[in-house]
């Protein structure tokens, strides 16, 4: 039987993968993907804690649902930003988007 620790370890690994994408990718869409992975890792944690630590309540699942909703918001706004940046700067590589830098 997988225990809570199993899920936590899995989520830690998934989180680290997402983090790796976020800090090393140049492509802004890839960074967004990394963020999605990290959010997923957090959601797995929430659902797992819900199941193992407090099965009487649904707070973990509700939290995860809200995270998913906000992830959808973040994806929509983030991708809109990418599109806008691509239109005006003709690149989606974050290290080339530096017009606000001194």
């Amino acid at each position: 039987m997988p225990t809570l620790t199993h899920y936590l370890v899995l989520s830690a690994l998934l989180f680290a993968l997402g983090l790796f994408a976020v800090v090393t990718r140049r492509n802004s869409v890839a960074i967004l993907m990394g963020i999605e992975l990290m959010l997923n890792a957090a959601n797995v944690n929430l659902a797992a804690f819900n199941r193992f630590a407090a099965p009487g309540e649904l707070q973990g699942q509700i939290f995860a649902l809200i995270v998913i909703t906000l992830a959808a918001c973040e994806a929509a706004v983030g991708l809109a930003l990418v599109l806008a940046a691509y239109r005006s700067l003709e690149t989606i590589y974050v290290d080339e988007i530096n017009v606000m830098k001194w």
Binding site: M1, P2, L4, Y7, L8, L10, S11, A12, L13, L14, F15, A16, L17, L19, F20, A21, V23, T24, R25, R26, N27, V29, A30, G34, E36, L37, N40, N43, V44, A48, N50, R51, A53, A54, P55, G56, L58, Q61, I62, A64, L65, I68, T69, L70, A71, A72, C73, E74, A75, A76, V77, L79, A80, L81, V82, L83, Y86, R87, I92, D95
Partner: protein, 164 residues
């Protein structure tokens, strides 16, 4: 090894392997497509965790909507042109080190903490319970989230529209 354990390991392997492809693939489209099995693996984990509503939403939003959106944007911005561009910046090694250290840290915490074990069982039909909770105890959270959703909807439209 029970069926549940087998299912867990299969799903975990699916999630992590696809996640690895997402993170490492030099081809951004491959990365995006690999998100789908990763999300589906997480969906399976939700099923194992008795969160069937969450699982449904996970497929609908992540696999169905977000991935499509990501692919859509990739195709609108890169198409076939940016394929040869360098995908990784110069902080690859240190990034990998930090990510690995984070993983080690989190795993250490996960394995060395005495997590509380809750009594009780999840309701048999969590969808109804979630719905009741959203319109009951969590109404404020629900409304707040819907406002954020509306605002980001409008914001995304305004940001992405072409200026006349």
């Amino acid at each position: 090894m029970t069926g549940e354990a087998l299912a867990f390991y299969v799903l975990a392997a699916l999630t992590l392997a696809s996640g690895l492809v997402v993170v490492t693939s030099p081809n951004i489209v491959h990365s995006a497509v690999a998100l789908v099995p990763s999300f589906l693996g997480v969906t399976g984990l939700y099923v194992l965790l008795n969160a069937e509503f969450l699982a449904g939403i996970q497929i609908l939003i992540y696999a169905g909507a977000i991935t499509v959106l990501i692919l859509f944007v990739i195709m609108l911005t890169e198409g076939g042109t940016g394929m040869r561009a360098r995908q990784r910046n110069e902080q690859g090694p240190i990034g990998a080190a930090v990510a690995a250290a984070m993983a080690v840290l989190l795993i250490t915490v996960a394995t060395h903490t005495a997590w509380p074990r809750g009594a009780g069982t999840l309701p048999a039909y969590t969808t109804a319970a979630i719905g009741r909770s959203f319109l009951g105890a969590n109404i404020l959270v629900f409304e707040g989230t819907s406002i954020v959703l509306l605002v980001s909807l409008i914001g995304a439209i305004i940001i992405a529209r072409k200026e006349e």
